[in-house]
């Protein structure tokens, strides 16, 4: 297995240690080295924020309580996977503590690792995983499955109402291709495999999987399955859950082999119960995915709409005729302005001037990407572009598309620098039908603004639509505000609560691709109803009778 980058303990990283900044790999470069001056001035003006240095505590100063794993449990776990795969050292526990939400980072930056597991255990096979679950059931030890550790909704919270000891099951050893059935376009992989390694293995056969979320370098196939991930090309390629043809779920009650490609009418869909189960029913130990030939043509380009409403209307028309590009990303006015300022350079200045000249000065940029066979791409692109023009869009060329593509995984890295400079930075997302989308957009923005506007300081809310469906689309909100250094957690919890209430009331779903985790638990009943929650509880009771599987997430207490 090639060397893979690891996330830093207190942020996203690793950051380039190039000498031009104070970056040392773990530490983010200063904001001055990350954002152009115009962008920083724009932020200061919008937010009423004064740039300041708010670095995290040193990693050595993070507080970690001693492991509570009982000796008997430890011995039994080691009996399954060997001593070397049961780890209780400080570094292992810190690196597997929680995920990468704003709240996670706030805690870690303040030196709080109270959510760290008591041990990290590394199974090598499905059988070992099942045996570990049996041991943990017997010894009343909570189990949190861990893939890439990139959850932004508290999916790795490890919080247990009964406060039992907790181990993280790190799936990093189960990261290889198990089977490749080229005629059937199916690959079976271990849950710990990451996207880049998968693409490398498939690329040798002229194949691709094509799932590209922002966490691409770190997140794992098992994690995508457990959370119903979607990626930047999901409009064309499909959501991750649509691409899963089968999976193996090890549970405390035994092993489930789910899915029967290509399709089956043999009763209710149990595969769909495992997808999105977030570790609450067991541990995903193998995933079979649909792959495809590498696209022979890719064409990325930018378009501009005068207004957000015009952009939505045009994309709805494309969606209705099944003409949405494989990648589609419409930024609202606030996000477009920020992106153009962030881009900096002469090209961006020229683009801004051109857009102003054509009456799109306050407009909305759209990035589209077409991928596939040349003759099909050509026909779809021609028909799609005609509809975009009819909808009032002007083409702004390939530079915008290619530039987005180059920076597509960049935002979480910049977040570390923003956090170091006294800012609140978080994202949230939803999806709604085309009919409900404008209302959801307005409601969430209003709620965030009202909650985060205090004595002259106000938030910047930037939004894009990034996954289109025939029936609707997702919305992704990025929030920036001057951080309340006294009560930063409460500041965000209040805004999150207001935004989520507003989102659901307007018809949006609780989450389009971030999952439920600990953070969205209080709203699950509003999303699926009390009886829906009861059905999930019944399934969990059958598979995990002692409730050891990731008790802190998904299901409300």
């Amino acid at each position: 297995m090639p060397e893979q980058p690891e996330l830093t303990i207190q942020g996203w990283g690793p950051h380039p240690a190039d000498g031009s900044t104070d970056s040392t790999g773990d530490r983010a470069p200063a904001l001055e080295a990350t954002l152009p001056k115009a962008a920083r001035r724009h932020l200061a003006r919008e937010l009423g924020w004064t740039p300041r240095r708010t670095p995290p505590v040193a990693v050595d100063d993070i507080r970690l309580t001693p492991s509570r794993l009982p000796d008997a449990a430890r011995a039994a776990l080691a009996g399954v996977v060997g001593e070397e795969n049961v780890r209780t050292d400080r570094e292992s526990r810190l690196r597997r503590a929680g995920g990468k939400s704003y709240l996670d980072l706030l805690r870690r930056r303040e030196g709080d690792a109270s959510d760290a597991p008591d041990a990290v255990v590394l199974p090598g096979t499905t059988d070992e995983t099942a045996a570990l679950l049996a041991v943990c059931s017997e010894h009343d030890v909570v189990v949190v499955p861990f893939g890439g550790g990139t959850s932004v909704v508290g999916g790795l919270a490890g919080v247990d109402p009964d406060d039992r000891p907790a181990v993280v099951l790190d799936l990093g050893r189960m990261a290889s291709v198990q089977d490749l059935d080229v005629p059937s376009s199916l690959v079976t992989v271990g849950p710990g495999m990451r996207g880049p390694a998968l693409e490398e293995a498939l690329g040798r056969e002229g194949l691709t999987f094509g799932h590209l979320p922002q966490s691409w370098e770190f997140a794992t196939i098992g994690g995508y399955a457990a959370t119903r991930s979607s990626g930047q090309a999901s409009t064309g390629v499909g959501r991750f859950d649509e691409l899963v043809a089968g999976l193996t779920l090890a549970t405390p009650s035994g092993v489930l082999e789910l899915g029967h490609p290509p399709a089956s009418a043999a009763g209710p869909d149990l595969l769909g119960l495992a997808l999105g189960s977030e570790g609450t029913l067991g541990v995903i130990t193998e995933v079979t995915l649909r792959v495809r030939p590498k696209p022979t043509t890719t064409a990325y380009e930018g378009w501009s709409f005068r207004t957000w409403a015009a952009g939505l209307a045009a994309l709805q028309r494309l969606a209705r005729h099944d003409l949405l590009p494989d990648v589609v990303r419409l930024s609202d006015g606030d996000e477009t302005r920020a992106n153009l300022l962030n881009a900096g350079g002469a090209g961006a200045r020229m683009l801004r001037r051109m857009l102003r000249a054509r009456g799109h000065g306050e407009g909305c940029l759209l990035v589209v990407g077409w991928e596939g066979l040349p003759e099909i791409v050509r026909a779809r692109k021609r028909a799609g572009s005609a509809l975009l023009r009819e909808g009032g869009a002007i083409r702004v060329g390939r530079t915008v598309g290619e530039s987005w593509r180059r920076h597509r995984f960049g935002a979480p890295y910049v977040r570390d620098s923003l956090l170091d400079a006294g800012l609140l930075v978080e994202t949230l997302e939803t999806a709604a039908t085309w009919s409900a989308l404008p209302t959801v957009y307005d409601a969430v923005r209003r709620a965030l603004r009202e909650s985060l506007t205090v004595s002259g300081r106000r938030p910047l809310v930037m939004t894009h639509l990034s996954h289109g469906y025939p029936t609707g689309a997702s919305l992704y909100f990025t929030v920036l505000a001057d951080r309340d250094d006294a009560l930063p957690i409460q500041q965000w919890l209040g805004a999150k609560r207001a935004a989520t209430d507003a989102m659901l009331a307007a018809g949006g779903t609780l989450t389009h691709h971030h999952a439920v985790g600990a953070d969205h638990r209080p709203w699950l009943e509003r999303e699926i109803g009390r009886l829906g929650v009861e059905v999930l509880r019944a399934v969990k009771a059958r598979l995990d009778p002692k409730g050891i599987c990731n008790p802190g997430v998904l299901l409300p207490d």
Copy 2:
């Protein structure tokens, strides 16, 4: 609501009563009026079958035991829906007895209606349905939901291990459009609505749903959802289950509102539990479907391959490149020969001659249909046709495609005439990955042949591939044999058992679109595992604690 045709009590029908045959609507025309002479001679030669007259008993002679519905239960049911919607008359009970499998028809033709319900109850709303379920729970009355009555797997068996009284919940009164959200391409309808009525309502808005199973004139939206139906254009349009954006399930424990279009990552998929639940968890009372604009171009045509293997290989290549037509139907040699003989006429003779001249005399016909926007259809058809040619196919023109299209719903009508002439006629189906498909095809045919070959009589097994996916395809087998008039049920049960065992052993799924019903129950555990069955039981126990919901199907005893 326009007048809708009703299935006959002992067969498919209604048949044309045109005077040229002995047909009177309920009775099928004689085989001489249905199949050309060459086709009948082919059958006699292949099967070792002597045509004979084996008509069903008169409908008046069908044996029906008196209703066992207790008066108290009847009164309580009538309290919910009114006296006029609780029916115990002979006609109502006979018309809602069982489905339309070969076994169903054998029983009904012999005068056996022991599976008839004790009453037929017609709810008008979700609330009424929920109230009826509560009444039935209280009075220990089994509930069998009834849509079109077209199940071919014993989905309406109504068999209860505890032999409690049973009512059919006929959903025919809940058959209207509840909501049409044109911008979001979503329509919400009652479960009793049939395809033609839905298409008529959508057509007025320039929309279509496009689900076209062979049972199209009779089957209902609720039935499609409960059984995970697929249709003749599902390769392009999608399986029915993929087109359900939401549904309402009334259960004895309350009402579930499932699905959140366009997509959600809020935990496991409960909608997928209701789809395919076959009435065992409750009654589907509302379904929200994704619709699309009516295609502006449709192009149907025929192709021929020299061999089945060449046809499979070519379709696999199209599938891999996402170039499968919207309709794709590859017949094997046995089915191709029979279809050409059935077609009769000068056109079919010319076609046979042309195919022989080009070395395709023993070949396999492929029907393809392209639908959609003209420019997209053109590009896809050109690229797909190039791959077909590279795979050795020759184009045989539009007549074959259009002829198939005209007769696409015809086979079940012909079955009645075949049954009247002493034949066994049944179909079965599966799906498998492209890699497993050839093995599954061989195994099922061999099992059917071995089971049904007795003293010089042997079956004719005709097969087609009719739903292509990137990862595999479905196979549909039609079996004809000289009926064993002494033990017809045992004759078929033996063949079905052998074929199903062989299918599963070779890697096929238990069913691709017929569902589980009573007939496939014994194999469900082999399909989803013992723990999988236990999970379904846990869900059922939560929603239907007294086990009144369609106890005879899906879950093994």
